[in-house]
C-alpha cells in the first residue's frame, strides 16, 4: 500500500473510531453500512467497468434473510449476518449468470429489471410482511457473550465489519485478479485474446460485489432492527450509484466519502420531503457534466496521488 493511502486509511479509521464521541452513533453506523455497500458497488463499476443498476437487491435480500434468521429462527447475530451475506451471494450468482450475458447499457438495464423482479417478489411473499417489513429484529448476543443491544458493542461490531470489508475490497483491487478486471474494463477483446476467460472474471467480480453488498445489508438490518422494502427499491440502487459517483468512481476511498456525504445530506434534508430526491438528481447532473472524477478523485488529482 503506498504511503498516502496508508495515511488516508489511518485517518479514515481514526475518524470512525473517534467520531461517536461527537456524532450520534446510529448515524455513523448507518454511514458505515452504506460506505461498505458503496465499496462493494465500486468494485464492480470502478474496476470491472460494469454499471449495476440493481444493487439494492443484494442489500435488501441480505437484510431480509438476516432479520428473518435472527427474529424467527433465533440465530446468533454473527450467524444471522453470515446467513444474510450467503443469501446475497447466492442471488449474485444466479442474477450474475443472467446479467453478464450483456454489456454496457444493456447490463445496467438488465440488473435494474432483475432487481425490480426481486422487489415484487418481496412485496408479495408473506415472510417479509409487505409494507411493514420485518420489525423489532433482536440484535442478540454476539458469539453468545456480547450483548449487541449496547450501542457501543454494536458500534464496534459494525466498525470491524466495515474495516474488514474495506480491506478486502482493497486486497481484491490490488490482486492479480483485480488487474485482470481492469484489463477487461479497458479493452475486453484484448483481454480475451490474451487468453482470459472474461465471463468468469466478470461473474466472480459480480459475485464478490454482491456478497459484500450483502454483508452491508445484513449488518444494517441488525443495526436498525428492521428490514424493509426501502432497501430493495430501485431508488436505493440509484442511491449507491450516486454515492460512488460523487465520491469518485474507481478510487479506493471515494465510495466511503460519497456515502458519508449522501447520508449526511439525507439526514438534514429529510424534513423537507421531496427535496432529497431533487437534490440527489441535481448532484447526479452536476457530477456527470462537470465533476466526473468525484470528490476523492479531484482531491487525488490535486495532490497528484491515487487515493
Amino acid at each position: 500500500m503506498p504511503r498516502e493511502q496508508k495515511i488516508a486509511l489511518a485517518v479514515m479509521a481514526a475518524l470512525f473510531a473517534l467520531a461517536p464521541l461527537a456524532v450520534y452513533p446510529v448515524f455513523l453506523m448507518k454511514a458505515m453500512c452504506f460506505a461498505l455497500f458503496a465499496c462493494a458497488f465500486n468494485l464492480l463499476i470502478g474496476f470491472g467497468g460494469l454499471l449495476s443498476f440493481g444493487h439494492a437487491m443484494f442489500l435488501g435480500t441480505a437484510g431480509y434473510a438476516a432479520a428473518h434468521a435472527a427474529k424467527v429462527w433465533g440465530f446468533q447475530p454473527q450467524f444471522a449476518i453470515l446467513f444474510g451475506t450467503a443469501c446475497a451471494a447466492l442471488l449474485g450468482l444466479v442474477t450474475g449468470l443472467i446479467a453478464i450475458r450483456r454489456q454496457g447499457i444493456y447490463f445496467a438495464m438488465t440488473t435494474l429489471a432483475l432487481s425490480q423482479m426481486i422487489y415484487f417478489f418481496y412485496l408479495q411473499t408473506p415472510f417479509t410482511h409487505g409494507e411493514d417489513g420485518i420489525q423489532a429484529v433482536p440484535r442478540g448476543m454476539l458469539f453468545g457473550v456480547i450483548d449487541l443491544s449496547n450501542v457501543w458493542a454494536m458500534y464496534i461490531t459494525v466498525f470491524v465489519i466495515f474495516i474488514a470489508g474495506f480491506l478486502l475490497t482493497y486486497r481484491v483491487i490490488h490482486s492479480p485478479f483485480g488487474q485482470v478486471l481492469k484489463a477487461i474494463r479497458e479493452n475486453e477483446p484484448r483481454a480475451i485474446s490474451l487468453g482470459y476467460d472474461v465471463n468468469r472474471y466478470k461473474l466472480l467480480a459480480y459475485l464478490l460485489s454482491a456478497t459484500l453488498a450483502g454483508a452491508a445489508g445484513a449488518t444494517k438490518a441488525l443495526v436498525f432492527q428492521l428490514a424493509s422494502l426501502t432497501d430493495v427499491h430501485w431508488s436505493m440502487s440509484g442511491e449507491v450509484v450516486l454515492m460512488t459517483l460523487l465520491g469518485g468512481l474507481g478510487t479506493v476511498f471515494g465510495p466511503v466519502a460519497g456515502a458519508f456525504i449522501v447520508i449526511t445530506m439525507e439526514n438534514y434534508l429529510a424534513q423537507i420531503g421531496a427535496w432529497v430526491t431533487i437534490s440527489e438528481g441535481v448532484i447526479f447532473v452536476i457530477c456527470v457534466l462537470a465533476f466526473r472524477r468525484g470528490v476523492i478523485g479531484e482531491l487525488g488529482g490535486w495532490l497528484k496521488k491515487a487515493l
Partner: protein, 295 residues
C-alpha cells in the same frame, strides 16, 4: 357463461384488452427509447418522467386554459418535445464523446429532478383526467364490452408506431437517420447537419413519450410517479426485443402486454414479474434479444 380453460371468457377478453392497452404504451415508449438510442447511443432514463410530463401538461392545459383532450394530443408532444430539445442542447450534447454510461446517469438524475419537482407541487395522489366526450361509452361485441376510449388508444398507438416505422424505414429523412446511426462522420461530410438531426431525434423520441402520456391520462390517474415503475418494465421490454429493429420494438411491446394480461388471468401472483422472467429466459437463450444483432 362460456369458459375457456376454466376461465370465464368475459374475464379473459377483459384482461386481453388491458394487456393490449398496456402493450400500446410499452410499444410507444420502447419505440421512443430505440429511436433515441439508435442515434444518440444514450438510454434515456428520463423517458418515464417525460411520459408523466405529457400527462401532467395535458391536465394543466385543461385545468388552466380549458383546452380539451384533442388539443392536448396535438400540443403536448410539441411542448414536452421542446423541453427535450433544451435538455439535449444544454446537457446531453456534452456527453457524446464519453462512455455511454454517463448518459444513463445524467438522464437518471434528470428523472429524479423532474419527478421530485412534480411531487412537491402536486403530491403523490393521482389527479383525475376526464375522457373526451366523443370517445365515452362503448360497444358490446357479444363476447365482451369494448370501451371506445380503449379501442382508440390501441388504434392510435398502432398508427403512430406504424408512421414512425414508415418515416424511418421508407423516407429519405429516415435513410439519413439510419446512415447517421451507422457513420455520423461520413453523413456529415455529405453536407447533412448531423448535430441538428440528433437534437431533433431526441425531441421526437421525447414527444413520443409525451404522446403516450396524454393517451394514458384518462386511463390511469395523473400522478408524479406514473412513469417511474413503468420505465423499468419498458427497459425489460427493450432488453427482450433488442433495440436493433423498429418493428421489433413495436411487436415486442404489444406481445409482452398481452402476455402480461394473460398472466393476470391464469396466475395473477406472477403478473408483476412475468416480463422480467421472460427477460431472464431470453437473455439465457438469445443474449442479443429477439430482434437484436449481437455487436
Amino acid at each position: 357463461m362460456t369458459e375457456i380453460f376454466g376461465v370465464p371468457t368475459q374475464a379473459l377478453f377483459g384482461q386481453l384488452l388491458i394487456g393490449l392497452i398496456n402493450g400500446s404504451f410499452y410499444a410507444l415508449l420502447s419505440l421512443g427509447l430505440a429511436v433515441i438510442f439508435g442515434l444518440l447511443n444514450i438510454i434515456n432514463f428520463t423517458h418515464g418522467a417525460q411520459y408523466m410530463m405529457g400527462a401532467f401538461v395535458a391536465y394543466l392545459l385543461t385545468a388552466k386554459l380549458g383546452l380539451g383532450y384533442w388539443w392536448s394530443l396535438a400540443i403536448v408532444p410539441l411542448i414536452v418535445g421542446a423541453t427535450g430539445i433544451v435538455i439535449e442542447r444544454l446537457m446531453l450534447s456534452k456527453l457524446y464523446k464519453l462512455d455511454h454510461l454517463y448518459g444513463l446517469l445524467l438522464t437518471f438524475g434528470l428523472a429524479l429532478i423532474i419527478q421530485g419537482l412534480f411531487r412537491n407541487e402536486y403530491g403523490t395522489s393521482g389527479l383525475p383526467y376526464s375522457m373526451p366526450e366523443a370517445l365515452s361509452g362503448g360497444h358490446n361485441l357479444g363476447f365482451m364490452f369494448l370501451p371506445n376510449y380503449r379501442a382508440w388508444v390501441i388504434v392510435a398507438s398502432l398508427i403512430v408506431c406504424g408512421a414512425t416505422w414508415f418515416i424511418i424505414e421508407k423516407t429519405k429523412l429516415g435513410s439519413y437517420l439510419r446512415a447517421a446511426t451507422e457513420n455520423p462522420a461520413l453523413v456529415q461530410a455529405f453536407g447533412i447537419n448531423v448535430p441538428r438531426m440528433i437534437t431533433l431525434t431526441y425531441g421526437f423520441g421525447v414527444a413520443l413519450a409525451a404522446f403516450a402520456g396524454v393517451m394514458a391520462a384518462p386511463i390511469y390517474q395523473v400522478s408524479p410517479q406514473m412513469g417511474a415503475d413503468l420505465i423499468i418494465v419498458v427497459f425489460a421490454v427493450v432488453v427482450i426485443g433488442g433495440m436493433g429493429s423498429i418493428l421489433g420494438s413495436i411487436l415486442t411491446g404489444f406481445s409482452l402486454g398481452v402476455v402480461e394480461g394473460l398472466t393476470k388471468v391464469f396466475y395473477p401472483e406472477a403478473s408483476n414479474t412475468v416480463i422480467f422472467v421472460i427477460m431472464a429466459i431470453v437473455l439465457m437463450i438469445k443474449p442479443a434479444g429477439l430482434f437484436g444483432a449481437q455487436k
